[in-house]
Point group: C2
Chain length 895, copies 2
Amino acid sequence: MSENKPRVLLFEEAVGLTKFELGGKGYGLVEMTRIGLPVPPGLNIPTYVCREYYSTGRFPDGLIDEVREKLRIIEERVGRRFGSTERPLLVSVRSGAPYSMPGMMDTILNLGLNDEIVKSLAGETRDERFAYDSYRRLIQMFGKIVLGVKDEKFDEIIEEHKKKLGIKHDIEISAEEWKKIIEEFKELIKKEAGIEFPQDPWEQLRMAIEAVFKSWNNPRAIVYRKTYNIPEDLYTAVNIQMMVFGNLGFDSGTGVGFTRNPSTGEKKLYGEYLLNAQGEDVVAGIRTPKPLEELKNELTQVYEELLRVSEILEKHFREMQDFEFTIQEGKLYLLQTRNGKRTAQAAVKIAVEMVNEGLITKEEAISRIEPNDLNQLLHPRIDPNVKSKPIAKGLNASPGAATGKVVFTADEAAELGSKGEKVILVRPETKPEDIHGMIAAQGILTSRGGMTSHAAVVARGMGKPAVVGAEMIKIDLDKEVFTVNGAQVRKFDVITIDGTTGHVYLGAVPTIEPELSGELQILLSWADEIRRLGVRANAETPAAARKAREFGAEGIGLARTERMFNAPDRLPIVYELIFAETEEERWNAVKKLLPMFKSDFKQIFREMAGYPVTVRLLDLPLHEFLPRMEELIQEVTELRIKAKSRKKGYKKAMKLLQEKERILKRALQLAEHNPMIGHRGCRLGITYPEIYRIQTRAILEAALELKKESVEVHPEIMIPLVSEANELSILRKIVEDEAEKVFQEYGDRIEFHVGTMIETPRAALTASEIAKVADFFSFGTNDLTQMTFGFSRDDAEAKFMAQYLGKKILSHNPFEKIDEKGVGRLVKIGTKEGKQANPKLIVGICGEHGGDPDSIRLFEEAGLDYVSCSPYRVPIARLAAAQARLKELAVKITV
Amino acid sequence: MSENKPRVLLFEEAVGLTKFELGGKGYGLVEMTRIGLPVPPGLNIPTYVCREYYSTGRFPDGLIDEVREKLRIIEERVGRRFGSTERPLLVSVRSGAPYSMPGMMDTILNLGLNDEIVKSLAGETRDERFAYDSYRRLIQMFGKIVLGVKDEKFDEIIEEHKKKLGIKHDIEISAEEWKKIIEEFKELIKKEAGIEFPQDPWEQLRMAIEAVFKSWNNPRAIVYRKTYNIPEDLYTAVNIQMMVFGNLGFDSGTGVGFTRNPSTGEKKLYGEYLLNAQGEDVVAGIRTPKPLEELKNELTQVYEELLRVSEILEKHFREMQDFEFTIQEGKLYLLQTRNGKRTAQAAVKIAVEMVNEGLITKEEAISRIEPNDLNQLLHPRIDPNVKSKPIAKGLNASPGAATGKVVFTADEAAELGSKGEKVILVRPETKPEDIHGMIAAQGILTSRGGMTSHAAVVARGMGKPAVVGAEMIKIDLDKEVFTVNGAQVRKFDVITIDGTTGHVYLGAVPTIEPELSGELQILLSWADEIRRLGVRANAETPAAARKAREFGAEGIGLARTERMFNAPDRLPIVYELIFAETEEERWNAVKKLLPMFKSDFKQIFREMAGYPVTVRLLDLPLHEFLPRMEELIQEVTELRIKAKSRKKGYKKAMKLLQEKERILKRALQLAEHNPMIGHRGCRLGITYPEIYRIQTRAILEAALELKKESVEVHPEIMIPLVSEANELSILRKIVEDEAEKVFQEYGDRIEFHVGTMIETPRAALTASEIAKVADFFSFGTNDLTQMTFGFSRDDAEAKFMAQYLGKKILSHNPFEKIDEKGVGRLVKIGTKEGKQANPKLIVGICGEHGGDPDSIRLFEEAGLDYVSCSPYRVPIARLAAAQARLKELAVKITV
């Protein structure tokens, strides 16, 4: 018996109950009632009654009597009576769960009408057509929602009548015609549901309440709860409320209001209304609602009442409200209020202004913005006002929208790009040697590869839009055309890609440029005051470094160096390195790269003057710089046949064959079964120390030369893929020896740090040993996730991740949001034991999770010192870090 | 001042000091002195004096005076005087660290001679030649060891003299000639070392003692200590002992004895001797020593004395002793004793017999056998008495020796094998479709691949000798020949491979068959009484299962099922499965495999009647069953050109092309970047549940049908590669649903368990969740090692493991001996948290570490329930488990 809590409450009696008891809608109605806003009187049956319904398996005994008792009070107050043919009281019945939930029963209006009472309503309102329209609406809604008769069947009947009469709109149907339709509706219900439409208003009410209870467990609602992790045991409340009518003439009406503009955030009442209409009519879309401002002229007093209401609502709820209202014969009634949905731009503006207005604190302002929503503000995006149908969808690998001509080779992209043309580079997948084309292109589209494919990683690093793994696109490189669903897209055709959604559009779809508004800057400055975590950027080009500074990064947490080997002018030297057989030959090869490397580093250091720059030494296996094995084998096979043929061109083929065979042979020697866990990272540094030596030299020579120009440089040298402390101590020695040589040669010194990525499980588990030879740790959570799960990311995302997420084996993709139980546990172990062993150790994270708000929460909890993410996520990370800090402080206070 | 401990002790004074103070040699001498054996009198300078030498950085003050004082006592006793020209006392100086250590100073003999004293010795012995030979030996040893003059330079001088005289052996050199040589030796020392050979015997002694101290830190000794983890701070003792001479005529001599036969273990005095010789002469190998039995005839009394000594030594040391002796003019002296090295066979026999003799306990017997040494007894091996030179060396992938004719295809191996011919299958690497050839062959030799390559894993599973990754071998499959170092080996040439060492021999090298001796069986039965860990076998054929039972396995801990898909008659059906596009098509394909699977399982279950059999459901990615991508591309490219050519056979080529293109297309679809961490294991089970359903069905139908024949079956179904509890709960449900169907159809039930491999770091870290849906865990430490380190085993062993071990980055290969800090920590976490969450959970390990004694120690400590290893390692594991238990109990008692 629900611990003797009242099962039915008047709105004014329910003050003090929580949203979990009253449901969202009920809570809003009760609060508005409490502060004296004009709410039609009504009752709330709290969620615990619904729980009782499920636990006992039957409709609660005596519940209807309790409803009757409370309704009597309302009847007295308004001078109407439910079920009476004189001055009948009509009610609506609406569900209201703690969280709004599509799929649950919504609303039944006009409850309390029957064949007799409808006549009384017609008499009282002197509007027969209104009365019978109201009655047929009740029968239709009741039939559909309570009795499960399909809506189309009702519509068919109405359509037949309109056809017969030769009319187009419902509004033209007369009272007499509605009476005929009502009879047919009742027949339909009898036939389909096997029972008569109940004439007893109390029976109507009982059945409607039970329908609300039942709707908690309808399949769509269950799926929705699973999807959004809403607990199964919250249940729904029921709201029973006196009907008011917006369709009683042109001093009546209905509408929705926002206390501020939900699109721009402007502090001004915003909304739409229709006179002589019910809420349904607005939804039906036959008549176009008018902007709320016009109401000022049509019903001035009501408009001013709305302004007053809007102010009261905001003061009370301390949040922008989205409310529904009805005007009945000049009188305003509020039917619902809730926190209003808004664009990211509006959210930021509103939060900042509310702080300035003294409505909320800075901490509240920060807590109210969903960090990921800022994404909308930080990249060019498809204009949301333009409706376009995408021709394909791939993975949303790097956010932002871009438009350009389709080209199929990196060379062509580079050529056109240098002429100022905008191009989209379309490839099955990209390779290191395509970099120049990727730089020149506006965006990248590939038909293969996952979220860490070359195209995806490089594009994200560049902040360039990319859609990858769009498998429905079939690319024919020879013919320079791609087909998708039968359509052909040729070279130089214009397409638009949206890396935020993964959509691909034909033609130029209008886009909007990002702007870092003044309000956002203020909000982020508050975030900076609150957060404990530092925020750095992953950046490896001067442009990216500049962007990162613009967005507030406090240094670079990851500067990859692969790009420095990939440039077309350097690949021949890298080949020399790959084919070298002795240490001396290798040293001679890499020495040639020194001036280029040094120039690269200088550019980045200049952009980040005064801030630390963490340079990761070469991580990729050497074979990544060679052509793909499949291509090589095909080429060599073809050349062999041609060379043997003794036909035209065979001598040339023989010569080329020799060269290709040499490359193939080396590629076969270097080939690996599982390159992700193969001969890369520090393992390269140990087997080919020359590479790390030259990189160290380039970094420190660059730093020393800038020092002469009074540019402040804080280089941090980061060794990748360490799994054992000895690896780091050997490489640290190599780095320090080379540094000493450089210092001797330059007659000057500079402070620098040496640290390591923590990206293998063993590195985290042996952090106490590694910390003794490291100045800093940086968690590489991409690789750490791969190894902790044993998931090769590219393979997992192509082969089984979709099924894993669909079947809820994983609640989220662990490459996007950090896996707390496995990877997160290792991050905590590594941080704690590392800092214990070396109290000066600085600990950061530079995997993609560094820009994910949920993951940042864990990094705050684990006690990291900073996160590092792509430049375009820096503002998101700043905000998320502040939120994480606030939550962490709350936890500490609670504990 | 070393806490006032005496710095020089007479042997008889040193009783009670430990081996760590006296060194191994000193301890033996002191003990022998104590029990009254004839030891030449002497002094020991304990290790702590050497420690003092290093801590103060100089030769200890007054040490020589203390030596002098103690030596006086010996002088009195023997009636000789050190440094006197009358009845001079000569001494030897020898180092003696707690562990014998190559690279340290060994011995200087004849100390105390100089230009004058040598004359006295000549007079006293009436053997001038002996005296001057002794003197030149002193100068030579002193020059070499104390003064660092190269030995060759001394030898050159002797050789010149012999050449000049036209003689061959040192023994022919006269006293006069030695005198000349001595003069030249002294010149040499002056020239090379810059000082005169010291004529003062006390100076000789001081310098010799210091040389012993210094030798503790010579580079070879340091490397040796690092290699064998011998602590740096043990230091060495010095032994100074009166010289006795075995070269004073034919009633003198020298020899070594073993208290039992070190080769067979037979309880009988064994050894060798030479009359009229010094120890050096035995080593020089010019004269061949005689078996000790012959001494019975030559010097009966001494022989009997030796028998008595042998018995006393064993009683005292309770171990088989290896001792050195010298006979001087009919009197026996013992110069050294230590525990004797022995073959595995001897070790077992001796240990068991000593228990029976009441000398030692069963626990001691068990502790004394190095489990890995049993390997020698469990596989056929190259006869150690035959000297053969290998033509190549590869990885010792699967132990044992095998001889046969070389064949280059699996088909040919199978064909010849079926005719009873012995063949060795030689391939660049093996593939699943080669299985029939591998079964038929005596052994496998590959030129590519590491310790977990297909060839290695399958061969170990079969207990079949294999040498893999012998890269020096160049195989030409077309010509059916392989070349190595210029030599050619053709098809049908006979070779012998030794999988225990990795050697390959030309021709048939004699081998010895293994025998599980009665003593070994007794020893293992004692081990079984002591051990707590269960021992199971990894076996997937009836033959392997039978072998496992023979060797004492208590069930199968890992029956892989890949073999059941690989057989040539099944591959066409597996292709159907691979090319199927719907669940129904896949089910129709796998259904055809049911009778074959069932028959496989029945055979294994029958062999293991009464014991658990853990069947691992399919783990390999599907593309492993397709041909290699490289081959496919080459074939398709060739066929395309041929099909286009319109030349002879182009129509056939077109048809074949179609089929090959179909396969290539599918292979490309299924191809993975990192298959080791890709779409395999339970991920296959989730995406293609049909496969696990049919396997479950086959297991349970087989079990139920055997139940009718009263064969007791305990099936355990094991899901591989789980990293998240949900994976296991979904698959457990699929398995249980299928089981229920089978039980319904058969109208009978059988108990079975469902469990999982723990082989991803995340599985270990989330063991508390996984344990709730598992009946058992089995650590797959091969994969767990790969993922914890981020080492792809094949790639690591081919590319950088050798350097990592060489540079001591890793102290051992973690795929052979478990990595305690990383992988071991995960094993402990997984076991502890798994058992806490589910107290009924059974935890085992089935990676290769299951047969490694050091790893077994960790598994005992971690509280596992059993280990599972290859059948041939079962006896090793039984012994190692007993030793681990004894150590664990010792730790518990200490703690």
